[in-house]
Amino acid sequence: MRFYLGAVAVTALLFAAFHLAGIEYLWFTAYVVVQYVVLATAWNILGGYAGYVNFGSAAFFAVGTYAAVALHKAGIGNLWLMMLAGGAASGLLGLGMGYLTLRLRGAYFSIATLSLAVLLQTVITNWSYLGGSRGVYVVRPAEVAVFSSFVEYLFAVMLALALLAICLARYIETSRLGYGLAAIRDDELAAEASGVPTLRLKLIATTISGGLMGMAGAPMPYYSTFIEPASAFGLNYAVNAMAMPLVGGLKTWIGPLVGALLMGTAQQIATVTISSAVNLLLVGLLLIGFLMLAPQGIVGLIKGRTGR
């Protein structure tokens, strides 16, 4: 309980600090970083806790985005409803993908998730209602009450989602579900022999993980106001969602948080100071560096230092 109250307090303080700063650009940038906190945390629930590496995070994110676009086109512009729709669509996608692919293990599962992203991108590209390959423009609603701008509102919403994701991840970690997933990660056959309902737990994990990614993607139409398949399914989402937990440290909720804050901020700085194209290069280099020098990530490094 203390953890959750603390998390709410930290989130509120963070928002207050950004609100007092009152810089539109700051909210605009922080939104992206916080969005990666959600993506990385969601990825870690399946990839870190259960050991199933998902290469298709972009697909879940984009399905959330396009579910929101669909809703907007149908005349429903409420952000919360869009996020619910995005979460539901991607959660269902996670469940379906789980049913089809979770009997595959290791690299085969990962390849299947990668093909899912390619498949869905092709579908969306040819779906003219959702803009097709030309993309679609989304007009933001007028300013929202209380918040000084719509971007600040979006930032606050993403911050709330990150809070939800982290609390959920931490809850799973200490629950029976978390133990079961850890058993699957260590030795799936033994977990099964011990009576852990492996398929069911994996399906729960893919659904939660996918649902959170979809919710993170849903505000995107309002954030960028222009959505097209190539960027919605962008490589940077899939790579970052995976690289951030790896750099931060798998297995605990704090790893993806640290990784996303660090790498997300570094990429935003690189975008302004060097160029936006250098982002992925930066991610790649950091990932290789960490895999070689600190495979346990930053959390593992710190734990190693303090001898815990």
Partner: protein, 243 residues
């Protein structure tokens, strides 16, 4: 209450390779049955068939749990564990990065075992005091004998009626083999278990077995209704006991 397993005319294999050929055996209530055979004769495959981890090509597995008969053929492993059948897999198959206590708790995943988790954990620590000392240590850093204790403890945590033990002697020093076999016997007596144990160490297995089967190339080659019948049989003596 009666707890037994009955395997009838079971055939199973992996793809085109047939491993078990028309195997029938009985594990009567309250007995320790030894399934004897050298490597590659189908002992583990039979264990996995009983646990629902391999679908048999033909035949049937039934179990009586607390007097009630269940057909196990084609059921999911978690359902079979849930009925009260636990497997200590070959090579232990622990969760190396998790601590001793976490390994034990995963054994109590089935709903019926959850209620008695604290009680069973105390029992495990009483039987294996060593594990209590090392409850926070990752299992991967422990010795083979200690790991075997964790594997047995994990099975006990599921509050089983029937215990399947697959090759408990694998990778253990001779003194630890005999100690592990004694432990299995001790668990069986104090928890009123029915035990099916696959082993290739005939001398040790026959020590605690009430009954035994010798499996050769996926067929039951000999059935001994008592431990004495097993060790008196000429074929067993010639091939496995070296006497």
């Amino acid at each position: 209450m009666a707890n037994s397993i009955s395997v009838s005319h079971l055939s199973a294999g992996y793809g085109a390779v047939q491993v078990l050929d028309d195997v029938s055996l009985e594990v009567p209530s309250g007995q320790t049955v030894a399934l004897l055979g050298t490597n590659g004769n189908g002992k583990s495959t039979l264990m996995r068939c009983i646990m629902g981890m391999i679908r048999p090509a033909a035949g049937k597995v039934t179990a009586v749990i607390d007097g009630e008969t269940h057909d196990l053929t084609g059921r999911a492993t978690e359902e079979i564990v849930d009925l009260g059948i636990a497997l200590v897999p070959e090579g232990r198959r622990l969760f190396p990065k998790l601590a001793v206590e976490e390994n034990l708790l995963i054994g109590a995943y089935r709903p019926a075992a959850r209620a008695r988790m604290a009680e069973n954990l105390d029992y495990c620590y009483e039987v294996f005091p060593r594990l209590k000392e090392r409850r926070g240590q990752p299992v991967g850093s422990m010795s083979g004998g200690e790991q075997q204790m964790v594997a047995l403890g994990r099975a006990v945590m599921s509050a089983p009626r029937i215990l399947l033990v697959d090759e408990p002697s694998v990778g253990l020093a001779p003194i630890l083999v005999s100690r592990t076999i004694d432990l299995i016997h001790q668990l069986k007596s104090s928890l009123n278990l029915t035990v099916l144990m696959a082993e290739q160490n005939f001398h040790q297995a026959v020590r605690i077995a009430d009954r035994g089967y010798v499996i050769v190339h996926g067929r039951i080659a000999f059935e001994g209704a008592s431990a004495a019948a097993l060790s008196d049989n000429q074929m067993v003596r010639d091939f496995y006991l070296g006497q």
